[in-house]
Subunit: 335 residues, 2 copies
């Protein structure tokens, strides 16, 4: 679409585009001129000629020669960028979300998850939380809890309060050797950013324990595994089966395709822009399916950062979802 088109549209054309988007979002059926002319005070013939113009601009499409119109991807884009007005969150929805965020028993990460679960419930879309735990965290301490002769628990804690633990098999390694290693780690690399720990472990700790621990290779691997676990992102996807409610997905093969992408490819789907805004990817711009839209945003607190996203049909309630995400982002960041 030419950028200039934005300025060429008359008010009535804008109104028609907006009405078609809203109607199609609601009904999932191509919108005919009759429906529009009931709202606008003019005849269906007028609307038809305007619709033809909008189609020339690439903002509308037909499914067949004599069908009503549906918005094209550019049409949605124009709507989102120029026509959409923030829609207030309904009292009911607001209440449900407030119940989560005002609950002091809940940790932040639980709040995030639960609030998006609610969004999935009320909108029937799919929601995603990508938490990047490791960001900005540094190693706080490593704890050791012996269980019996051959096993113990290693517990690693970051300064921001994230915890990882792993049960390890230590038969053949003396308790003394292990304790020394942990002391070494606590002395040498506490305060190191989590992302850099693997390197430090290899180049600073490994050479030393190599000297006095018989099974140093195994011991090194144990700690290496625990630390790399940390840098893994946490992924939560909620309301996946909502996709099956959409009329555009009455074809089982298509559903399977999308569900498999959501299972395997979430990072790719949700991580893109690095700005602080609400980002909207429509149709081909998503990495899922031409009929889908992804709306996402980053959140960032002093302890944690991540991404929240809503995945739904291209025919999405853009205004509602944008507002919900904005509201949740705000609540996360002020919690």
């Amino acid at each position: 679409m030419l950028k200039e088109v934005i300025y060429l549209l008359t008010d009535r054309q804008k109104e028609i585009l907006k009405l078609i988007v809203m109607e199609y979002v609601k009904g999932a059926k191509p919108v005919g001129s009759n429906l529009i002319c009931e709202t606008l005070k003019c005849s269906s013939a007028t609307v038809r000629s305007e619709m033809a113009t909008l189609e020339e601009f690439g903002l509308l499409e037909k499914t067949h020669t004599s069908s009503g119109r549906i918005p094209s991807e550019e049409g949605y884009r124009y709507y989102v960028n120029n026509l959409m007005k923030p829609k207030e969150i309904s009292g009911e929805d607001m209440l449900k979300l407030q119940l989560i965020f005002s609950n002091n028993q809940l940790e932040l990460s639980d709040c995030i998850k639960k609030s998006l679960e609610i969004v999935s419930d009320i909108t029937n879309y799919t929601s995603v939380v990508l938490g990047a735990k490791s960001h900005d965290n540094t190693l706080k301490e490593v704890n050791l809890v012996p269980l019996d002769e051959s096993s113990m628990i290693v517990i690693v804690i970051t300064d921001k309060g994230f915890v990882e633990h792993k049960k390890i098999d230590v038969h053949g390694i003396s308790l003394d050797e292990i304790k020394k290693t942990v002391t070494l780690i606590n002395n040498m690399i506490v305060g190191t950013p989590i992302d850099e720990i693997s390197a430090k472990l290899e180049f600073e700790i490994k050479p030393i324990i190599g000297r006095y621990v018989k099974e140093h290779e195994r011991l090194y691997n144990v700690f290496y595994n625990v630390f790399t676990n940390f840098t893994n992102k946490s992924v939560d996807v909620m309301g996946k089966s909502n996709i099956l409610k959409l009329p555009e997905f009455s074809n089982v093969d298509k559903v399977r395709d999308v569900l498999e992408k959501l299972d395997e490819n979430i990072d790719n789907i949700v991580e893109e822009d690095d700005d602080n805004n609400i980002n909207i990817y429509i149709g081909k711009e998503t990495n899922i399916d031409d009929d889908m839209t992804v709306i996402r945003t980053k959140y960032k607190t002093d302890k944690e950062e991540g991404t929240i996203a809503i995945v739904g049909p291209k025919r999405m309630e853009y205004d509602r979802v944008v507002n919900l995400l904005e509201y949740i982002k705000e609540n996360i960041e002020n919690k």
Copy 2:
């Protein structure tokens, strides 16, 4: 079905039933007499009259008057109880599973999960792991790691090596009060079975801290939450979207129904018999859908117990799945 039917079936009838089950499992299409009479050395007319008898017994069904036969639920049941022979696990499948169980880096619970993930991959069914962590575990120790003035991490460890942790907000409670409480817990209820901790916490700890901790209600809640987390079962469901590959689920509404049940109702679906065998629930016996079958078994090690299950179509490769589950159960219990 009358129990006596078991003894009334002739060898040929058994053979026909078996062939129909196997053929229908493979092809998902009603099986006609022609196909059967190619294997059996007799005419299609003979097979037809035998099939009519089997239908009278309630072991076979027709989808319409002139269709081939499909097994009824009783037919599957008869097959499973009387006709099915253990089928050896293929070398390829065996290899994949061995790779998991012989990997010493992996914790038991990871092995279980990964092995069932493999079963989902190779069979295209859905697999479920229900782990009941708390069983037979007793409290080993409670650790405290202060993060800053207003928050700390509570870490709880059981004798079998399970760990739960929670970040808590402690502003308004003095460090001293918290430390005393933890010491109290470590002194008084270490060694208590996890299931009984809530009670002990309420009747033994709460009255004491009530005396010297100002915010004792809040502090009590914190520990209560951490401990109850323990008794929660862990649930893993793998290969859910495999259901979409089944021809009996080309109807999207049906798929949604099943997926929603798998999301919300897993306990109900998978927990039933309390014996140590492989249990098979066919069609109506499952709590999912008349077209589904659940095969499950319990596993029990000295540290952990739980349930593993495969959920698939009624038209399931019973012999294969039973063998895989048996094999995995054995490997878990001897790990």
